[in-house]
Amino acid sequence: MASSPYFSLAVLFVAALLFGLAPLGLAWMWARLFSPRKPNAIKNSIYECGLVSKGDAWVQFRSAYYLYAIIFLIFDVEAVFLLPFAVAFTGLGVAACVSMLIFVLMLVEGLAWAWAKGILTWA
């Protein structure tokens, strides 16, 4: 089991987690032992340039973010298909490559459409 790559990943995961948690724990210990945490209403209010924060930060955002996310998602999926193809690329014939080209071009068409529609213009 130790030879499995996932075991290594798991060990690294634990190590990284510990790397993050250990100092946080130490900091917590420090606060417990020496430097008592003294929260108060002013200190623990939201920072806003020294003023009292007005309104909420959790407001409704613009859909531009979403549009970009869609295109990103599509290209992410494309990459997932492209990667195995790329691995096999050196051994493939022209026909196979053309079929992949068609795949990519179809997605590029979507991009081009979005570009032409002005979706890619961040305002």
Binding site: A2, S3, P5, S8, L9, V11, L12, F13, V14, A15, A16, L17, L18, F19, G20, P23, L24, A27, W28, W30, R37, P39, A41, N44, S45, I46, Y47, E48, C49, G55, D56, A57, W58, F61, Y65, Y68, A69, I71, F72, F75, D76, A79, V80, L82, L83, A86, V87, A88, F89, T90, G91, C97, L101, V104, L111, W115, L120, T121, W122, A123
Partner: protein, 396 residues
């Protein structure tokens, strides 16, 4: 291979050290212990490198700005990061009452862990890789993709307007450049024929005469490398793409409300991401741990790897010392309207490269296509936005 045993000794010193240490244990535990040692090495070396880098960055930036930089804390100021660490450790941890405390706590951890995970597949030297997987590259990018969420968590949970704006910026920026990052590395995969980073390095670790077969020395490789570097800079939120932390507008971005060691973790993670992406860039395009010239092969491989990473870091610092920051729309436009089409074109050029076979023609054709496209797209972009040098008139 053909290297002398002395070279191997220096080269493999860490491997030998690990094996020696592991052999002290009962044999049942040995494989596990060797993995644990590897993981500990990653968790120890890169943060150490981070500490060193912060000093070098502050000193180097200082030098660019005609000043000395930190030089008083410890010899030549090299204890500065230790002091910063102690300070961060003992600093009060403020969590706003209105913040989402749980997510606020988790965000830096998630970021740190995902960034660390990326190192698992990086070959830092010959045989020095925690895991070699069939889909190593994909794993790296999968981990990279997961950092976006932690940035969002940090910004959202703080419930601060600047944090929120910074997080939205950061996520938009990271997803935009992730596409370019992925697609520019696909070219390397196409030629190397593997997602395993060991194999990618091996493919480059050959020499014609004394010159190595690094992918950066091909037209498509250079183009990919450029795009990869730009995208990596953007992914790590470094200048000129440091908008999410753009302090001139949104104070400190998504970590505005973080103090104490949680903030330090963001700091560490940013640098670790820099190392990871520099290391990945070096692996993909600069031959990983292979020596740049054949006769330099006697220098241990891990030294080469770290040298390449540090060079990349120096360029990061250099850019930070020189360049102003882009604006959000320019950044997004650059990603989608310049970087993405260019990398897509580069995919095509790479395919062309293969199908044209050996010979000088493919160099000329590929280079011409890419250079032409670069100049054309650059011109178009600047022309469309009416950007360019100006002349001025005077009144007497």
């Amino acid at each position: 291979m053909a290297s002398t045993s002395a070279v191997t000794g220096a080269d493999q010193i860490f491997i030998l050290l690990r094996d020696w240490l592991v052999h002290l244990l009962p044999s049942a535990l040995r494989p596990a212990a060797s993995v644990v040692l590897g993981a500990i090495a990653i968790v120890a070396v890169f943060p150490g490198l981070f500490a060193l880098t912060t000093v070098f960055e502050r000193k180097g930036l200082g030098r660019m700005q005609n000043r000395l930089g930190p030089n008083r804390v410890g010899p030549y100021g090299f204890f500065q990061p230790i002091a910063d660490g102690i300070k961060a450790l003992t600093k009060e941890d403020v969590v706003p009452f209105r913040a989402d405390a749980m997510v606020h706590f988790l965000a830096p951890l998630v970021l740190l862990v995902t960034v660390f995970m990326g190192f698992a597949v990086l070959p830092v030297g010959r045989n020095m890789q925690l895991v070699d997987m069939d889909s190593g590259l994909l794993f790296f990018f999968a981990m990279g993709a997961a950092t976006e969420l932690s940035v969002f968590m940090a910004g959202w949970s703080s419930r601060n307007k600047y944090s929120m704006l910074g997080a939205m910026r950061a996520v938009a920026q990271m997803i935009s450049y992730e596409v370019a990052l992925l697609l520019s590395s696909v070219t390397v995969v196409m030629i190397a024929g593997s997602l395993s980073l060991t194999e990618i390095v091996d493919a480059q670790n050959q020499y014609t005469g004394i010159f190595p077969h690094w992918y950066i020395f091909t037209p498509w490789g250079l183009a990919s490398f450029l795009m990869f570097s730009i995208a990596a800079t953007a992914e790590t939120n470094r200048s000129p793409f440091d908008l999410p932390e753009g302090e001139s507008e949104i104070v400190a971005g998504y970590h505005t409300e973080y103090s104490g060691f949680k903030f330090a973790i963001f700091f560490v993670a940013e640098y670790l991401a820099m190392f990871a992406l520099s290391g990945m860039g070096a692996t993909l395009f600069l031959g990983g741990w292979s020596a740049p010239l054949k006769f330099l092969g006697f220098i241990p491989s891990w030294i080469w790897f770290f040298l390449k990473v540090m060079c990349a870091i120096f360029i990061f610092i250099w850019m930070r010392g020189t360049l102003p920051r882009l604006r959000q729309d320019q950044l997004m436009n650059f990603a989608w309207k310049f970087a993405l089409p260019f990398t897509l074109l580069n995919l095509l050029v790479t395919a062309l490269w293969r199908f044209m076979g050996a010979g000088w023609l493919r160099w000329v054709v590929c280079a011409a296509i890419l250079a032409g496209a670069y100049v054309f797209m650059g011109r178009m972009g600047m022309h469309r936005k009416h950007i360019g040098p100006r002349s001025y008139r005077y009144a007497e």
